[in-house]
Each structure stands twice: as structure tokens, then as C-alpha cells.
């Protein structure tokens, strides 16, 4: 196997959905045929963001909420790396909400995995951006008063070309979604229902298991209007699977747009390519009088 766990014991609670997500991630990586050296992980802060410590990979474990800007910089610097971003919903949708929308609008080619447990786990039980309206938490004794963040609806509205939802209780299904997300040449979002067994007594494994319903095979993810309907569903049924996929031919990534504007077939790797001094000299000469 190319990709394996590290020998480090995860700092996750026994029974945490994160373990199953790791299984799916490892399966997806090994199924994808990628080489370890060609993959780099970027994560933020939180329990989910510790994930890259527990698989053998290159990683940049940065700041809370800031994984997407760091990943954007990494991908622009070395477009040949497969860059995976993994963090929780607090990191991606809360602290990093502005970056989430901006990264989607850029359509930078990243695979973005969001462990969504609808609660802040590491800080011990405050409301997260996706906690249900009215749910009582340590920080919301009156119940959550804010409308929950709808990641897939917002992502599709902002121009996301690949929007999927998985569930930690469906490892093979999730792994297949991650493989597709890695292969998608643009911003690919996988929102993952992954219960916090310690701090969310409402969004439990059992409740997700009951509500998560795979999209039927007949479902056409290229239909944006139909996708908006599925993306918004959040009640007795939560659709899981590839909700929206835009043809990447019509939706080139940021780095491809830069390359095309420069008449190149593929994006340039910046390492080893300082700006050419003879070009700079020519630029400077324009200002010599």
C-alpha cells in the first residue's frame, strides 16, 4: 500500500467519526493510484485538522480557519501537487467562512474535506456554524438563534463545480466520493457527516444513519437547479452522494486560467524558477530616461 497510517495514536475520542473518515481517506488515496510524494495535506485547527498527523503524507498544519488560503498558495506554487484540505466545519465555515467563499470563486483545484459534526468538539461543546436552529449547547443556553450555514447550497451558489456529501458510516461510499473529488480538476467540496460522540447528543451516529440517504443512480448531478434542491435538504432525509458536478471543460481552474492566459498548456511550477533577470532588465529599461 502506498498510503498508510502513521504509528501515532490519534488524539480523537474512541468511537469518533474521524476514525472512519481516515479509513475512507486511506482507501481513496490507495484507490486513486497517487504517489505519496505527489500529495500534500493542508489543515487548520480542531480535532479533524489533526488528520494529516495520522496518515503518511506531506502536510502543512496551519492556523484555525486559514487552511484554504494556505492550500491556495501551495497549489499556485506547485500545481503538480495534489492538494487535499481537511478540517472541521468550524474551521472551514466559521473562522474561515470568507476564505471558503473566495476559494470557491477562484476555483482553485483543491480537494476539500469537511468533517461536519455540527458542534465545536475540541473547545468542548459550543455551537458551530451548522448546529441546528434551536439546539441547546454550552454557548447557546437559549438554543441556537442563528440560521445554520448551508455549506452545499452556499458552495453551489458561489460557483463550486463539485459539491458532495458523505457520511462516516458509509466508508466505501465516502471513499468513492473522495476519489472523484481528487480527480476533479477544480475546487471539490466533500461535506462529511461525522458525529461527535462527546459533545453533540442530537446529531448522533444513529440519527445520521437514519437520515443519510444515498442519491439514486438515476440522479443527474449536472443539473444545477436539481442540485440546489438536494443541497438544501436537511430534515428526515439528508441526501448523500455527488450532489453537483459541473463539467470542468466549461469551468477551468484558477491555475489553468493563469496558464492559458500565458499561452501555456499547463500551470508553471514556481520552485526553481526565479524571475528571469534579462526580462526584468527589459522591464527596468522602460523606466530609464
Amino acid at each position: 500500500m502506498e498510503f498508510n497510517k502513521t504509528p501515532i495514536e490519534p488524539a480523537w475520542c474512541p468511537g469518533c467519526g474521524n476514525f472512519a473518515v481516515r479509513e475512507a481517506v486511506l482507501k481513496a488515496l490507495n484507490d486513486s493510484g497517487l504517489k505519496k510524494r505527489d500529495v500534500a495535506w493542508v489543515s487548520g485547527i480542531g480535532q479533524a485538522a489533526k488528520a494529516p498527523h495520522y496518515i503518511e503524507t506531506n502536510f502543512f498544519n496551519g492556523l484555525h480557519g486559514r487552511s484554504l488560503p494556505a492550500a491556495t498558495g501551495l497549489k499556485l506554487a506547485n500545481p503538480e501537487l495534489n492538494v487535499v484540505v481537511e478540517s472541521g466545519e468550524g474551521c472551514h465555515y466559521g473562522e474561515g467562512g470568507n476564505h471558503f467563499i473566495a476559494a470557491i470563486r477562484r476555483n482553485i483545484n483543491l480537494t476539500v474535506l469537511v468533517h461536519d459534526n455540527q458542534i465545536y468538539g475540541l473547545t468542548k461543546g459550543q455551537a458551530s456554524p451548522t448546529t441546528d436552529l434551536g439546539q441547546s449547547t454550552k454557548s447557546t443556553p437559549l438554543g441556537v438563534l442563528n440560521e445554520p450555514f448551508h455549506p452545499l447550497s452556499i458552495a453551489i451558489s458561489a460557483g463550486c463545480g463539485f459539491a458532495a456529501r458523505g457520511f462516516s458510516g458509509e466508508i466505501a461510499h465516502l471513499a468513492a466520493l473522495i476519489v472523484e473529488a481528487i480527480r476533479y480538476p477544480g475546487f471539490a467540496l466533500v461535506d462529511i457527516l461525522s458525529p461527535c460522540i462527546s459533545f453533540n447528543k442530537k446529531a448522533t451516529f444513529a440519527s445520521y444513519k437514519e437520515r443519510a440517504k444515498k442519491l439514486p443512480e438515476s440522479y443527474d448531478p449536472s443539473n444545477r437547479e436539481a442540485a440546489m434542491v438536494q443541497a438544501a435538504k436537511w430534515d428526515d432525509e439528508i441526501p448523500i452522494g455527488l450532489i453537483y458536478r459541473r463539467d470542468p471543460e466549461d469551468h477551468p481552474s484558477l491555475e489553468m486560467k493563469i496558464a492559458h492566459a500565458r499561452g501555456l498548456d499547463k500551470p508553471e511550477v514556481l520552485a526553481g524558477h526565479p524571475p528571469a533577470r534579462d526580462r526584468l532588465e527589459a522591464i527596468m529599461k522602460q523606466f530609464v530616461y
Partner: protein, 573 residues
Amino acid sequence: MRDSLTIVIGGEAGQGLATAGELASRLLTRTGYNFITYQGYHSRIRGGHNTYALKICQSPLTGPEDQADMVISLDENTDAIDAPRLRPGGLLLAFNEKAAVKANGVSVLEVPFGELGSAREINMIALGLMVSALGLPLAGATDEVNQLFEKKGGSEKPLAALKAAYYWAEPKIGGKYQVSPAVPGHPGRLVITGNDALALGAAAGGVNFCSFYPMSPATTVAVNLTNWAAEAGLVVEQAEDEIAAVNMALGASYGGAVPLVPTSGGGFALMTEGVSLSGMLETPVVLVVAQRPGPATGLPTRTEQADLNLVLYAGHGEFPRAILAPGSIGDCGLLAAKAARLAEDSQGPVFVLTDQYLADCTSPIKPFDLHGFETPVNPLETHRRHEAELKPGAYNRYDHRVRDGRSPKLLPGFSDHLVKLDSDEHTPDGHITEDLDWRVKMQDKRMKKLHWLRERTIAPAYHGDEQADLILVGWGSSLGAGLDTLAELKREGRKAGFLHFNQLYPLDPSDWLPRLEKAGRVVFFEGNYDGQFAQLVRRECCFQPHMVITRYDGLPLTASYILERLEANHGVQ
């Protein structure tokens, strides 16, 4: 003929002051003059009160002036606001003589702007007046106007206004304000702003990535790099905010790019967590902080040197950093390249601290010898060198056994070694640790790099008498003002010196502190309220200056400002 002359053109935003100034400065460059231009403007797109000042002088390196010898008013505001800046013997070319604030010994000449051209060409009228008064060749001016307006579609009307103004002025002031040229012949000089030079020097130093959020007065650094990106092979990304900008730069740095992040104080304040991350990840980044007066939005288009403490203390926790502060347009280029090298080699954040005055000013300088710059930073070369030197066994990004704290820095994707960076305290392999023994070892490892940086600190430049009774101390953009002040003191027969700092942190006082201790009087001058650099020197070197002259009215330090305070408070004997 005069040795020097300062002209201020004043008007509203949108009247094209800067264009008139730029054309004049090109003509002055070609005709062999030394000069400096600096701008004062309001934070708006149209209207307000803007000035473009042109100081023609003999020295190739000079500072700005508070006073002027000629004011050209393109509106009544200028008649009222800038006329009082005129020295005795000065000339006000008034927009409306009745609005002019007249001072003793100042002549006033109302210009019939409406008769000389339309409102659109008012800046060309200003140029015509200048060309005549300075005794510059009209043909040279028409060439400059032709070259500029050919690209913009038609130079007929601008030329007509230029000539009408010139011929109107000739019988009245023609050649009366001529300055002797300082550089005879036509050596071909570079006329760019501090920000232009900074961008050029950075790119020559290897910077090939820039992420930024627009903020005056730093924006033109990024705009330049954007303009050159395709040709020179850079990637420039406008971020959604400053937090994104700095984190993008760190991600790019991890990937092997050489990043630069230009901003100003308020934007930089948002970046401080990222600065701390650079310290912890040991990931190089160059941050350009172009200062303007704060707090908060402050005076967005004015200048100050009040963010030294901000960059010195930015970021939680303790980690090494270096702060460079260019003194001239040439320095902007050289120090930007130097900053990229220091960041790469020290594996952490390096600052270039500039300000609105230096960012926007221009002066003709010798073109950079870009091929003579130190080898550009190349992280892939670092990767290959460090990989070749690896000890057998697993690769550890944060190998704490290295003598100077600088552990082998590889790039992900260029070898089978996995490169692991963590913002948590970590073990040498980059994984999270809560082992407190490791905490101490890793903090010791990181802080060793401060010593490494201190050994490479750029020593301050000393100008003036070896045995000086009075030593002035300044930093960054006040170099020109300091040199002007020193020249004036010398004219008065004073034994004086001027110590100018291009690097503010870390300091190595061994070669300059004895000089200050021996001097009769030591006077610091800074563009801030608190004397931040004087405080830093006191803290780091236990040296107490006799006086600190501060300026925080939004204008750059000038020789007259410094001399006035030297005399008023303690006398220049």
C-alpha cells in the same frame, strides 16, 4: 544660477498633477538634473487638495522640503494652503490672486489658465510654466508630451496648452529660476518610485509569488508585480483579506515559491497571527509594511514611521525576525532582494519597513545592475543542497541538532522525503507534541536563528566627521533628510555626524555604540510620536540619547524640521 529649487504644484485629484510632475521629471532627468519628487494627496479619487513637489538640487540623495521656491496653483485652495510655504524671494503662480495668502518677499503672478487651454489641459499649462521658469528646452518638453499622449490618442490639445503657457511665461519669468545641472551629459538614469524599486529588487532577488489585499501606500508594489507577472514568470494573487494574503504566502513558500506580501499598518495588523505561524513553521516570507499614520484608518495617504513597534512585536510567542528599513529608492530595491535572501536562509519572517513618502517619491538613480545582485533565492536549490547533506535515517524538517538552528528545508513533491509542518509545538519530524522537554529543545532551536541573524545584521552607515560633537541618528526613509541636515550643519562649521540605520532588528551595537558613547550629543529623529527606535536602542543597547526629535503630522521629516527643533530646544552652538 541657483543650486536648488523646490516647486510645488497644487490642485485637485483628477487634474493630472502627477502627469505634469512625471513629464517634468523625465525632462529634468534627460537634461542632467538631480531631483526628488514627493506627493501629498487626499484619500479620494476626485477633488480634495493634492500636491506634487519637485526639489531640484545638486546632491543625488536628498530629502523633501517643507518650504518651496515656487508654487503653481491649479485651484484656489492651493493659493490659500500652499502659498505660505514660499520662502522669501519665492513665486506664486496663482490661480486666483485674490485667494492667495501673501507673505513678505513673495511675488505673485496670476495665470490666465482659461486663456491658455481648457480645464482638461490644466496640467500641461503647469508644465509649460515650469519649463519656461526653469529655462528648460521647449523641444524636450514637447517630445515628452508627444511620447505620452501618442499612446493616449492625440497630443494636439496638450501640446497647444503647453506651448501657450510657455510663451505666456517667457517674457515674465523665462529662465529666472534656472538651476545648474548636476549631471552633465546623458547617462541614462532610472526614474521610478520607491515602491517600483522595491518590486523590481524583490523580483531580482527571486520573489516569484505575491499575495496581497490592496491598501495605500503599499498597493503599487503588488500592481507592479502584477504588470510584470506574465513576462517575468510570477504569480500574483489578490486575496480576499490580509489574513488570506499572509497564509497564502506561507502555503506558497512551503510549496517552493518565494513570497512577498505588501501591506500597510492596518492590513498588517490582521496578518500578525500569520507572522507567528511563519515563526513556528520556520517558513520564509517577506512582508513589506508601507507605513502611514494610524491609529486605525488614520491618515490614509500621508506618511509616518510609527509601525516599528508593530512589526517588531507582531505575532504571539517568541520567534526570530529581521526588520530592514530602506533609506532611498535604491535601497528599496537592494533591501527587498536582501530580505528575500534573509527570509530563505533564516527560514522565517523578514520585514521591509517603508512608508508613504518613500513609496511614492521618485528620483533619478543609476539603473540597477540586476545581474550583479546576489544569486536569486531558489528554494529548489536549497532543497537539493539540504537533501544532499541529510544524515542517514528518516528526514526531520525540524532537526534540532543543527548548530545554528537552521534545519534542512526540503520541499514537498521533489523527493520521497515527506515534509511535515505543524503550527503546534512539534517533534523534529513535524508532528504535534505536548512533551515539554521537546518544547524547550524546539524553542531553543528556533531562537538560535536570532543569533544567526544578528551576526548578519547590516551595520548602520555613518556620514560626517569622525570626531563629532553632535551625532544625528535616523532610520529608514529619513536618510535624505538626515543628509540634508548634516550638510547644513557642516555649512555652519559644526563637527557633526549622521548615523543611518538600514536594519532595525536585530541590532549588533558592537561597531557603532562606542561612537555614540563618545559623541558630545546624540539626537535621534523619527517620524513618530514615541521615538520608537530610540526606545529600542535604549532597551537593547542601554544607550540613552540626549534628545529625540519626532514628527507625526503626516509629513516626512525634513532638514528644516530637524534643524528648527535642534535650535529651539537645545541650540546649535
